[in-house]
Structures are given as C-alpha cells and as structure tokens.
Symmetry: C2
Subunit: 193 residues, 2 copies
C-alpha cells in the first residue's frame, strides 16, 4: 500500500510529518512526502526534499493532503491543482486542516461536512463548506481532520482502511507518550471508528 503525503510550500510540519511517521511504523504500507517541486519550505522556514513528485498521487492507494500557510494561494493555482489526479472510486483520500480547501477545489467534498482547524474555518466556509466542531470526519473513501495533532487520526484511519486495526494499534502504541499507549490508541480508534 502506497501513501502520498501531499506537502506544499508553506506546509505545516506537524500535519505532514506526524502522519508520515506514524504510517511508516506499520507493516505492509509506506508513506512518502510528495511535493510539487524538488524541495518545499515549511511555514517555519524548514526546507524539506520531496520523496515523490506530485504525479505520484495518481498511482498511490491513499492520498493525504497536508495543511499549510499558503493553501488559499495553492487552490487558486490551476496548474498545481491539475497535477493532483485523484480517483475517489479507487483511492482513500484525506485532508488535514486547510487541506480541506484542496478537496473542495477538486470537487471531492460536495455536499459533505468537513473538519478543519480554526484558522482555516472561515476560508472553508467562504468556499461553501460546512465545518464540524470535531477533529475527524469520514464518509466513504473521503476523510477530513482538524487541528494539527489530529494528524494521528488521519494516520489511524489510513491504517484501519488498508492494513487493519492491528497495525493501527502497533503504530500508535509506538509513538504514544510512555504510559499513555492505551489511551492514545483508544482515543484514535474512537475518533475514526
């Protein structure tokens, strides 16, 4: 199972790297930081080199759209959006925070409520979306998460839908704060279940 973690310029490090790191703790699945240019710079000025080009989104089994400080600009970039060739019949597709704006732009959340963070919320509402007061929501093959650390829920959903609950438990048990393993696993399974 291959996962594209779409990471654009101005990206939020927690959103992209928490999902990437948790998914890569599981067996039978592999996540890649997927970028439109060879390198991208985070909202805190950290430059990261992409592991896959944006066109990898066409072949991935799961595509997770990260968040960032420039998403409003990115969704207006027709060339950039055209490089995201997603198939909601075949792929599992998720977004983190402002990534919901990308899903909206691609017509993937028409008529569905979404999750997003407080900063992205007014932009999502201006785009006609209904934003839920919760961290995670999924319908069919589409999921949205709100709040940076909800990236662990997006990772849990990805693992649950592809490699199963055992791998969710194993991966989250590993990354949880020591002594909070069970609480972390159960909170995530409840959020995505």
């Amino acid at each position: 199972v291959q996962v594209a973690i779409v990471t654009l310029d101005g990206f939020n490090e927690i959103d992209s790297f928490v999902a990437n790191s948790i998914i890569n703790r599981a067996k039978g699945i592999r996540a890649y930081i997927t970028t439109p240019t060879p390198t991208v710079t985070s909202l805190n000025g950290v430059e990261a080199t992409g592991q896959r080009p944006l066109e990898f989104t066409a072949e991935a089994d799961v595509v997770l759209i990260g968040s960032g400080s420039k998403t409003v600009e990115h969704v207006r970039d027709t060339d950039l959006m055209a490089r995201l060739a997603l198939d909601p019949e075949r792929q599992w597709i998720g977004s983190q925070c402002s990534g919901a704006l990308v899903l909206a732009r691609l017509g993937l959340v028409d008529g569905r409520p979404v999750c997003a963070d407080a900063t992205s919320r007014p932009f999502a509402e201006a785009a006609g979306l209904t934003v839920l007061d919760q961290a995670f929501h999924s319908e069919g093959r589409i999921a949205t998460a709100g709040g940076c650390l909800a990236a662990q829920y997006l990772a849990a959903w990805t693992l649950l839908r592809t490699v199963g609950e055992g791998e969710v438990r194993r991966a989250l048990d590993y990354v949880a704060p020591v002594g909070e393993e069970n609480a972390t696993v159960e909170r995530a399974l409840k959020a995505v279940g």
Copy 2:
C-alpha cells in the same frame, strides 16, 4: 528566547518537528532545526535542511536533543559530541527518547532518572541510566521525554520555563485536535507541572 532543536542524521520527524512547530506558535520565542551538516536525512528518508549549525547550541537559551535511529552511533562520535557545548547552569536542556543517551554522554543526567521510549530503554540502561515508566521528567534545568508524541510535553516545558503558562496554553490550544483543546492543554500542564 532562542531554542536549538538538535536534529541528527537518522532523526525521528515527530520528535524534532512537533517540538519545533509548537514552540514557534508561541510569542517571544523562536525554535530552529539545528544540524551538524547542512542537510540531515530522517529515519524515513526525508532530507531536511538545517536552519542553524550545531555550534548554535552554545548560544541558545534552550537546547532540545531530538531522537533517531542512529543515536547510539552518534554518541560514540567524539567530534560530533564535542560540538555540543551545553551549559546546564545557564541553559534549559531537554531530550526526546534516545536523546537521553546524548545527555548521558555529556554528563548531564548523572545520578538522575530519565524518560525514554521502549526502543531506547535497553541502550539507556546499558549506559547506566534508570528509565522511568512515564512520559516526562524534569529536575532543575534538565528534562527528558519518552514516546514520540511526548514531544508536546517537551515543548510545553520549554514554553513554561521561558515565556510562561499563557503561551503554553495558546500554543497547545492551536495544535490540539479540534474539540480536544482543553484536554490537550491540561494533560501537558499536568505532565510537566
């Protein structure tokens, strides 16, 4: 207030980037990914460009040592360790997971128990350390955290000791999953309090 997030080759992305991103949400403080070489590669193969050289640790007010898959090798590298000029009388110093091995190598946790993740634990015990069954422990100016997502506690401790509880609350409220803001803030304050 300046914070060096020491990020070595083989680094764990959650450890370095969660702390960096949370700290940079607060006012009056700034964290930088601090590396021994211009670029470092994570344990999942993501290349990141450092924002400060390792020598920045000498002037920073806070130094947090990240974790990774090669820490055992790094602590044997005398030249690398010599570039970490830390002052426990002036600086706040913390470690995440296997970063405790670096603190031990620098003589900063002599006679003190530490926190570390399950994978690092046997190496820490082999180095003569007592590892606690909890996510966070601090004594004076030294703190250790265990389990990747305990990086939020290391960030909370950093903010609490430098810019105060108001900024801890503001930063964690921002990064928490939507609807879990209070629980996230209170859990962190309890862990570091």
